[in-house]
C-alpha cells in the first residue's frame, strides 16, 4: 500500500474545524415550517453538503489531534490483522503485517464491517465532497461554531508540510456532540458540581485520512454518512447510467434508471458498476449474460439484440452486473443461488 504522501516531521500549517449541517436542513429536521409547505431540496453533487468553519485551537489540542491522526494510520493497518488480540507486544508486528496487505477500493454497494481499511481515489465521483474539503483554501474562521453544537456533523483537521503536501482527517461528531447531553460533574474546591458549559470530547482516531491522491477510510459507513453519500449517489444515477450505457450498449437501461432513482440500494449498485466500467470495455456477450441470469434466477428478456430485465428483477440484474450473484452448480439437487454482500477478487 502506498504510504501517505505527507511528512509528519515537517508540518508547517495545522488547522482544525467543524462541518455544520446546513441551516435549512437543520431547521427542517427540527420540525420548523418549510416555506410555502413545499419540500426543500437538499443540494449535493457539485454543491456543498455542510457549512465548514475553522476554529482556532491551542498547541495542546493540536498535539492531541496529531496523535489521533497517527493512531488512525496505525488502526488502519491493525484492521487487517488476523493474528488474534492486539497487545503491546504484538502491536508492531500487527501494524507491519497490515502495511504489507493493500486495502480494497471502496464501493458504495459493498457491505462493510464497522472498522475496515479501504481506499478511494480522490478523483472518484463518490469522493467529490471530501475532495472539496481537502482542496478548499480560506475556509472562514468562526469562533462561535462550537456553540452551534446541535448542528455539528463532523470535525476535521487539515495539515500542510514543508513541501506543500496536504493531509485531511475527518471524524463524524458523535461523541464530540453527544457529550453535551451528558450530565457531567467535576470536583471544584471540595465538592462535586455539575458542569454547565458544553464540554467537547475528542475521539481516539479519525474515520478517514486523505492525501493528494486518495482517501484512506477506516470506517466506510462513517464516510458514507458524513458526506451524505447516499443522497449523492441517488442524485448521480442518471449520470452513472450514461457511463454504463456507453460501456454496455446492447443493454436497455431505461427500466433500471427508473428503478434506481427511487431505490437507494439500486443506486449504490449503479454507482459501483459505473466506477468499474469507466474506460474502454469489450462489449458484453448477451447470450452468456442471459444464461448467467437464468442460472441465478434473474428474469431477463432478449428483444432485438437488446437485453431488458423483467419488472421486479431490476435489482437482481444490477447484482449480476456488479458481480454479486453466484450459483454453486456442482452438488446434485439443483443450483444453489447466493448473493455476495462483500466480495474480493481472488
Amino acid at each position: 500500500m502506498p504510504p501517505l504522501t505527507f511528512d509528519f516531521d515537517r508540518i508547517r500549517h495545522f488547522e482544525f474545524g467543524v462541518g455544520l449541517k446546513l441551516d435549512e436542513e437543520h431547521e427542517d429536521k427540527n420540525g420548523k415550517k418549510k416555506p410555502n409547505g413545499k419540500k426543500r431540496k437538499v443540494n449535493y453533487g457539485e454543491k456543498k453538503t455542510l457549512d465548514f468553519y475553522r476554529v482556532k485551537v491551542d498547541e495542546e489540542v493540536k498535539a492531541e489531534l496529531l496523535n489521533m491522526v497517527m493512531t488512525t494510520w496505525d488502526n488502519m493497518q491493525l484492521s487487517k490483522w488476523t493474528g488474534g488480540k492486539v497487545t503491546k507486544t504484538n502491536r508492531k508486528t500487527a501494524v507491519e503485517a497490515g502495511e504489507m496487505e493493500p486495502p480494497r477500493r471502496y464501493q458504495p454497494s459493498e457491505k462493510y464491517s464497522s472498522s475496515e481499511h479501504v481506499y478511494i481515489p480522490l478523483d472518484a465521483i463518490q469522493a467529490v465532497h471530501l475532495k472539496q474539503l481537502h482542496e478548499a483554501d480560506g475556509i472562514p474562521i468562526d469562533k462561535g461554531a462550537l456553540k452551534k453544537h446541535a448542528r455539528i456533523s463532523v470535525y476535521f483537521v487539515r495539515m500542510e508540510d514543508q513541501d506543500t503536501n496536504r493531509l485531511t482527517a475527518v471524524r463524524r461528531a458523535t461523541r464530540f456532540k453527544g457529550i453535551l447531553k451528558a450530565r457531567l460533574i467535576q470536583l471544584i474546591s471540595e465538592s462535586m458540581e455539575i458542569v454547565c458549559e458544553p464540554v467537547f470530547q475528542l475521539d481516539q482516531d479519525f474515520d478517514l485520512l486523505a492525501d493528494a491522491s486518495r482517501a484512506h477510510i477506516l470506517r466506510p459507513q462513517a464516510f458514507a454518512l458524513a458526506f451524505k453519500l447516499q443522497e449523492f449517489i441517488m442524485r448521480a444515477v442518471p449520470k452513472n447510467i450514461k457511463i454504463i450505457e456507453k460501456a454496455m450498449p446492447p443493454i436497455d437501461f431505461e427500466p433500471i434508471r427508473a428503478y434506481a432513482v427511487e431505490h437507494p440500494r439500486a443506486a449504490g449498485f449503479v454507482s459501483s458498476i459505473a466506477a468499474q466500467v469507466a474506460g474502454p470495455q469489450p462489449p458484453p456477450d448477451l447470450t452468456a449474460l442471459k444464461a448467467f441470469c437464468e442460472v441465478n434466477g434473474v428474469k431477463v428478456n432478449l428483444v432485438e439484440e437488446s437485453i431488458i430485465p423483467e419488472k421486479g428483477h431490476e435489482l437482481g440484474f444490477l447484482e449480476v452486473l456488479d458481480d454479486r450473484r453466484y450459483a454453486v452448480t456442482w452438488p446434485p439437487g439443483g443450483a444453489r443461488r447466493y448473493r455476495a454482500t462483500g466480495r474480493e477478487r481472488v
Partner: protein, 198 residues
C-alpha cells in the same frame, strides 16, 4: 445556497491594533503639549495611549508565533495598498495634529472625532494601517483568492503584511494570523517556528 459569513473575531485585539495605529498622533500631541491639562498628566495619557495598544499588538504577535496560529493564503489577485498609508497620514494624522486643543470644547470635539475614526477603522477592518509596519519596511497587500468552483473555499480577501516587494498570482503563502483576515509574514517569528512534532 450561500454560507453566512461569521462575524470577524478578536474584537478587543483588533480595537487595540487600531489604537496602536494612532501612536504617531499621540506622540505628536505629547510633543506639542496642551495648555488645558497639566503637562505630566497629558504626557502620561499620551504615553499610555502609545504603549498599551502597541503592547497588545506585540502580545498578539507573540501569541500567534507561540501557538503557530497560521493561515494559508492562495493568491488569485493582489492589490498593493501603499496608497492607504497616504490616506492614513493625510486624512487622519494631519487634521488631528493641526486641531486646536487650547479650549475644553475643542479638545472634547477632537477626542470625539478620534473616537469616530477609531470605530470606523475597527469596523472596516483597517487595523493594519500601522505606520510602525511601514517604518520597519513592511508592505500591505490585499489578496483575493483565486476564482474556483469549490463551494467550500473562502471568498473573502485577506490582508498580508510582509517584506515582500511583489506577490504574484498563484503563489502559496503561509503566514501568522493577527486577526481572522489579517496575516503577518515576518522574520520575528522565524526563530520560534518549529514543527508540531518536535
Amino acid at each position: 445556497m450561500h454560507q453566512q459569513l461569521p462575524a470577524e473575531g478578536m474584537k478587543t485585539a483588533r480595537l487595540f491594533m487600531v489604537m496602536s495605529s494612532f501612536s504617531p498622533l499621540f506622540i505628536l500631541w505629547a510633543i506639542r503639549g496642551n495648555g488645558l491639562i497639566p503637562e505630566h498628566c497629558f504626557i502620561g495619557f499620551c504615553a499610555f495611549m502609545v504603549i498599551l495598544p502597541n503592547l497588545v499588538l506585540w502580545l498578539r504577535y507573540c501569541a500567534a508565533c507561540k501557538e503557530k496560529d497560521t493561515g494559508v493564503i492562495n493568491v488569485g489577485r493582489v492589490e498593493d495598498h501603499r496608497d492607504h498609508l497616504l490616506v492614513y497620514l493625510f486624512a487622519m494624522l494631519l487634521p488631528f495634529y493641526t486641531a486646536d486643543l487650547t479650549s475644553l470644547r475643542e479638545l472634547l470635539a477632537a477626542l470625539a472625532a478620534l473616537g469616530f475614526v477609531v470605530y470606523l477603522f475597527w469596523h472596516l477592518n483597517l487595523h493594519y494601517m500601522n505606520i510602525i509596519f511601514a517604518i520597519k519596511g513592511y508592505r500591505v497587500f490585499t489578496i483575493y483568492p483565486p476564482v474556483t468552483d469549490n463551494p467550500i473555499a473562502g471568498k473573502q480577501s485577506q490582508v498580508l503584511i510582509t517584506r515582500r516587494v511583489v506577490i504574484l498570482p498563484g503563489e502559496h503563502i503561509i503566514a501568522y494570523s493577527l486577526s481572522d483576515n489579517v496575516y503577518f509574514e515576518g522574520d520575528i517569528c522565524h526563530h520560534s517556528h518549529s514543527t508540531l512534532t518536535e
